[in-house]
Every structure is written in structure tokens, then in C-alpha cells.
Amino acid sequence: MKLKSSVDILSEWDIVAARQLGRNEAKEVGFGTVDQARITTAISELARNIYLYAGKGNIEIKQITQGNMQGLLVIASDQGPGISDVRKVMEDGYTTSGGLGAGLPGVKRLMDDFKIETIFGEGTTISATKWLR
């Protein structure tokens, strides 16, 4: 069982590769079709953000366990410009990312845990976990 794997995001094709990786790992962990689609959508949004705003970066997928819980951790990192106003980006209906239910608030809703670390001018790392129920 492969426990860690990652995809560099340099072109739009890599978004699909990251999705594929995420879906495979999600299947392996035992997530159902709907949760697979949710995890994949979250990865899609994160990869798309990297592609659109940072130019390049990386999506890492890790199968994780905590006590007797199993889950999937997605880490999206880039050395892009960083996010100057995290509060605003996490606000609903903030429409730069294409409206309804999209963007980082969407990722937060699709996953169970969500963490964002950003340094203006140095880059951003977003970690999001989905737990198997």
C-alpha cells in the first residue's frame, strides 16, 4: 500500500492527475462514491487555485490514521504570492473564485478538517483531511 504520493501542478493537465491520484487513494481507504467525488472536487479546487494564482506548486496525498479512524490528508503547497487577506478569502460568496459554493470555503465544507498557512510573498500551504465514517 502506497502511503504517500504527490503531483506537481504546472499545467491544467496536472489538475486531472492530482484528481486521479486522490480518487485512487480515496477508493483504497474505502470512501464511497459520493465522498470520492467530494475529495476529488476539493483536490480540483486546490490544484486549480495553485494553477491560477501561484503558477506552480504541489499536491500531496497521504493516507492517515488517528486512533481507530482512517482518513485522507490533502496538502496543497505553493511558493506563490501568498494570501494577503485570509479572512476575506474564507468568506462565503467572495466571488473571485467563480461564485456559489466554490473556492476555499467550498474546500473547507467538502472536507472535515481544514488548515491554511500563508506568508505574504512567500507562499501558501493548505492541509485538508477527510475522515472515513
Binding site: 462514491t33 459520493v34 467525488a37 472536487t41 462565503d92 460568496g93 456559489l100 459554493g101 466554490a102 465544507r109
Partner: protein
């Protein structure tokens, strides 16, 4: 996937595939009410549908099965929008509670007492269009004089309400009811000009009634002219007084005029929320407002203002577009 919903849905779907009756669709509709209440997302509904169909039609073609996976993928965003909606509804509810609280705070802050004067009957009503009032009426009085300020911030809602508090503190800093109207306007104008940005303007009327001389002295800062009703001639005249809106420039020359009241004469001070009432057919004519007022001239001043408000509310189809303030001074 919530198993109980799956079981129920499968039953409805099974019935419906057997016989396409309205009754089955009605059950589906009622069921969807439950689904939404239990936060079942649309992508989960598709997933339930797929699983049910696979059980009902055992030899379902792989193509059909796969097609649902694409549909689930597409629905994920609809599910997100729905969740966003639930967050927003909660926010909206919190905001409503906050506005109610704010409106209470404002009422306490701006409260003014209608004075009891010998020989003068006073009525006052002030109703905000939204939760917060951008109109303001304030009374000052001593033994023989009663002063009244009626003001309107251009605009309504929260920004207007914030500005209004300024007028109150300005009025509090005045010494007494006898102060000349042009002095009052000058003091308030300086405060407003200093504290408020260039895009905020306030119109204000100030009048003071002397019960000994039955004389009403007044000045206006770009405010709606009051209507003076002469009981003898049974006619209204506008009390005109030139003067710039508050907050435009620090030094303004205001005009001061007076009028002497006979018994039963009264003056109606108001904001443009009264004169600019609109019905479906357009603005309500000044003559209409005058007719309404005149029809209750024998009532108490308070009964008069309340009646006028009720009548205009009706004429507007209960859609109040602006803050509404009306003050009547009637010699008795």
C-alpha cells in the same frame, strides 16, 4: 449514505416504476421535504437514486450505472451551494437579532420627552422605514418656552442612524429652550461639519414656541418647510426659511422668522418621509396630506399625528420607503 432514507426512497421509486401515478410523485415530493430538512445533499440524493435503481432493476446496464457517477460529480457543486445557503441563513438570523438590539439601543439613546406646556398641545410620531431611524425629533423646554428640533440625515439605515446620534449630543450641549433658532443651527452645523464626511448631509428645522407671547420663532437648514394652519381662514401656508444643509460649510447664514398663533392655530413640522409618500399611482399630493390633516384638526395633537401616519401608511400600501417624522404644535 443514510440507510433509512435509502429504504424509503427505494420503496417510492419501486412503486413509481410500477405505476406512474400522481400519488407516487406526491410521495416523492413530500419525501424531498424531509431530505432537505435532514441536510441530505443533492449528490447524496443521486447516489440514493442510483443504488435504489440498481436494486430494482438487477440487470441495469453498466452505461446507465456509470452515467450516475458523472451526475454525482456534477451535483457536488449544487450541494456546496446549498450548504453555503445554510450558513448564510444562520448569519441572516444573527444579523436580525443584532439589528433588533441596535434599534433598542438607538431608541434609548435618542429618547426625548414631549413636554407638557400650558396653552400648547404637542404631538409627535417618528417611525423608521427600516430597523434604525435616520430621522430625529428632540424637545427642550423651560417654564414658558419649548424648543423642537426635527432632523433628517440624507439616506437611511445604519449610516444615517450613526450620524443622528451626533445631533442628540449637540442638542444636549445647548443651554436652554430660549436659545435662538439661528444659534442652535449654527452650533449643530459646526459639530456636523467637523465630524462628518463630505458625503453625509443633514437637514434640520428648529423652532421655539413662547407660551407667553404665543409666538413661534424658527429657522431651517435645508429642511422640509413646516405647514402653518390658520384656524380663522382655514388655510395652510408654508413656513419658508432659507438655509444650507448641515455639514456643507462651517459658516452659514440662517434666516430666522416668527409667526404668532391664535387659538386653534397649529404648525406641522415633518421630514420628507411625510411629503414624499408614494402610492402605486405616484407621489401623494401635498393637498392630499393637507386634507388629511385638516380632517382631524379638532383632535388632540397626538391623535392628529397618529391619524396622519395611519392614513398615509394605507395610501402607500404599507410599504414605507423613508423614515417618517411628524410633530404638531397646536395653541389651545
Amino acid at each position: 449514505m443514510p440507510q433509512e432514507f435509502k429504504r424509503q426512497y427505494k420503496e417510492i421509486l419501486e412503486q413509481y416504476t410500477l405505476r406512474q401515478t400522481e400519488h407516487n410523485l406526491y410521495e416523492g415530493q413530500n419525501f424531498s421535504r424531509q431530505l432537505i430538512q435532514k441536510n441530505i445533499s443533492p449528490e447524496e440524493v443521486i447516489s440514493i437514486h442510483k443504488a435504489s435503481l440498481e436494486e430494482i432493476i438487477p440487470n441495469l446496464s453498466a452505461d446507465v450505472s456509470h452515467s450516475f457517477d458523472l451526475l454525482i460529480e456534477v451535483m457536488i457543486r449544487y450541494g456546496l451551494a446549498l450548504k453555503e445557503h445554510q450558513t448564510l441563513i444562520k448569519k441572516q438570523e444573527n444579523f436580525k437579532m443584532e439589528m433588533e438590539l441596535a434599534s433598542n439601543v438607538q431608541q434609548t439613546l435618542l429618547k426625548t420627552k414631549i413636554p407638557n406646556m400650558f396653552g400648547l398641545d404637542i404631538g409627535m410620531i417618528s417611525v423608521p422605514a427600516q430597523e434604525m431611524n435616520g430621522d430625529y425629533a428632540y424637545f427642550l423646554n423651560d417654564e414658558t418656552s419649548v424648543g423642537v428640533a426635527v432632523a433628517d440625515v440624507i439616506g437611511k439605515g445604519i449610516p444615517a442612524a450613526l450620524c443622528m446620534s451626533m445631533i442628540k449630543y449637540g442638542m444636549d450641549s445647548l443651554t436652554g429652550a430660549k436659545t435662538d433658532p439661528i444659534v442652535v443651527l449654527d452650533v449643530i452645523n459646526r459639530i456636523v461639519e467637523k465630524s462628518v464626511s463630505d458625503s453625509m448631509f443633514i437637514s434640520m428645522f428648529y423652532g421655539t414656541y413662547n407660551t407667553t407671547r404665543s409666538e413661534f420663532t424658527y429657522a431651517s437648514a435645508g429642511h422640509e418647510p413646516p405647514l402653518f394652519y390658520c384656524a380663522k381662514s382655514e388655510r395652510f401656508t408654508e413656513l419658508q426659511a432659507k438655509g444650507l444643509l448641515l455639514g456643507v460649510v462651517p459658516n452659514v447664514k440662517y434666516e430666522q422668522h416668527s409667526v404668532v398663533f391664535d387659538k386653534e392655530d397649529f404648525v406641522v413640522m415633518m421630514t420628507d418621509g411625510v411629503t414624499e409618500c408614494r402610492s402605486k399611482e405616484g407621489f401623494i399630493e401635498q393637498q392630499t396630506v393637507m386634507d388629511i390633516i385638516e380632517s382631524v384638526r379638532d383632535e388632540s395633537a397626538q391623535a392628529m399625528v397618529e391619524y396622519v401616519y395611519k392614513k398615509l401608511e394605507e395610501l402607500q400600501d404599507f410599504e414605507q420607503r423613508d423614515d417618517f417624522t411628524l410633530v404638531i404644535f397646536k395653541k389651545i
